[in-house]
């Protein structure tokens, strides 16, 4: 029986790790492509409402964001209805300028395709939302495309 005796008993063969970098790189590229770096720092609470019948906003470059919620820092802390445009807390009257700036930043052909994504907190009161949408309507004589951004919820 000695004929079939294993040569190095008890010692498992070494696994080649040469392909490990390839695997890791593959994962790396996946995450690099899929990743979206957060552009703005949120200064308001933003617990989005849930809805089931939602559609995706295609083309991120053509979406401008308006954040609404309760203030988190500084003198706005605890204030219920706050508006954030870009990186700072703003007032309702700043919205038209913001929308026009967003339009000016896009190519002329693409301006019609801009969507406004309204990211409002669950507990925002409707009078404030109404003020925001009224300003949006004021700057858009042809109607304003808006998306009430929500989390996706699947109904049972």
């Amino acid at each position: 029986m000695g004929k079939f005796k294993r040569k190095n008993e008890g010692e498992s063969p070494k696994i080649s790790t040469a392909s490990l970098p390839d695997i890791v790189f593959m994962l790396l590229f996946f995450f690099m492509v899929a990743t979206v770096l957060r552009e703005v720092e949120l200064k308001v609470t933003n617990e989005l409402p849930k809805a089931s019948e939602v559609s995706k906003l295609q083309r991120k470059s053509l979406v401008s964001h308006i954040y609404v919620g309760a203030g988190k820092y500084g003198k706005w802390k605890g204030e219920k209805n706050c508006l954030q445009l870009n990186d700072a807390i703003a007032e309702i009257k700043d919205i038209p300028a913001f929308v026009l700036a967003e339009r000016a930043a896009r190519h002329e052909d693409e301006r019609k395709l801009i969507w406004t994504s309204l990211k409002a907190d669950n507990e925002t009161e409707m009078y404030f939302i109404d003020q925001v949408t009224t300003e949006l309507r004021r700057v858009s004589p042809m109607g304003h495309k808006i998306s009430y951004t929500t989390k996706k919820e699947t109904l049972k």
Partner: protein, 186 residues
């Protein structure tokens, strides 16, 4: 030429995996993979002198009103034919069926709509109503219209609404135009 000049010294690639891991972990931590999803609507322009909304002679029964007060989580549903304040309370997830019955009435019940193309849904919010409630109503409206349009698309073109081309979608949309009005009160 000597042999050593021709063959390049081998670079040790052993640390490549480490470097790649480092980058991988960075991206794993910073990544957020949420795509923006939302309920899409088109806001009408504000009325002014040049742009006066055309007065349409509505039959009152073509309007379905959702009245949401901030104090209760139920939503009062009434048609324009009802006396105001006489709405029936519904939980938000029950609204879909109400909307569908209202839209597909075709004049059977004199209190409900004459046809889907004449019907108007009206959301009446109060100043202090929470945004969440409003979004839920909008969602229910979307669900109801999706179902109706899908049925119509299946009947007419034997295909789901979302799979139709734009022309055919417009035909179906014309049958079921989504008309939502909003108002805010104290």
């Amino acid at each position: 030429m000597s042999k050593s000049r021709r063959s390049l010294p081998e670079i040790n690639a052993g640390s490549m995996a480490d470097i790649a891991f480092l980058l991988l972990i960075f991206f794993l931590v910073t990544t957020t993979m949420d795509v923006d999803t939302g309920i899409k609507r088109k806001l009408p322009p504000l009325p002014d002198e040049e742009n006066i909304p055309t007065q349409v002679d509505f039959h009152k029964n073509n309007i379905l009103i959702f009245d949401c007060s901030p104090s209760s989580d139920k939503i009062l549903v009434e048609t324009g034919a009802d006396e105001s304040g006489n709405g029936k309370p519904f939980a938000t997830h029950e609204l879909k069926n109400e909307i569908i019955t209202f839209l597909t009435n075709y004049g059977k019940n004199p209190d409900l709509s004459e046809s889907p193309s004449k019907a108007v849904l009206s959301i009446r919010v109060h100043k202090k109503t929470q945004y969440e409630t409003y979004v839920k109503i909008q969602d229910q409206i979307s669900i109801a219209y999706k179902e109706l349009r899908n049925n119509e698309a299946l009947r007419k073109f034997n295909s789901k609404f979302e799979n139709l081309d734009k022309e055919k979608q417009d035909i179906v949309k014309k049958e079921y135009p989504m008309r939502v009005s909003e108002s805010i009160k104290e």
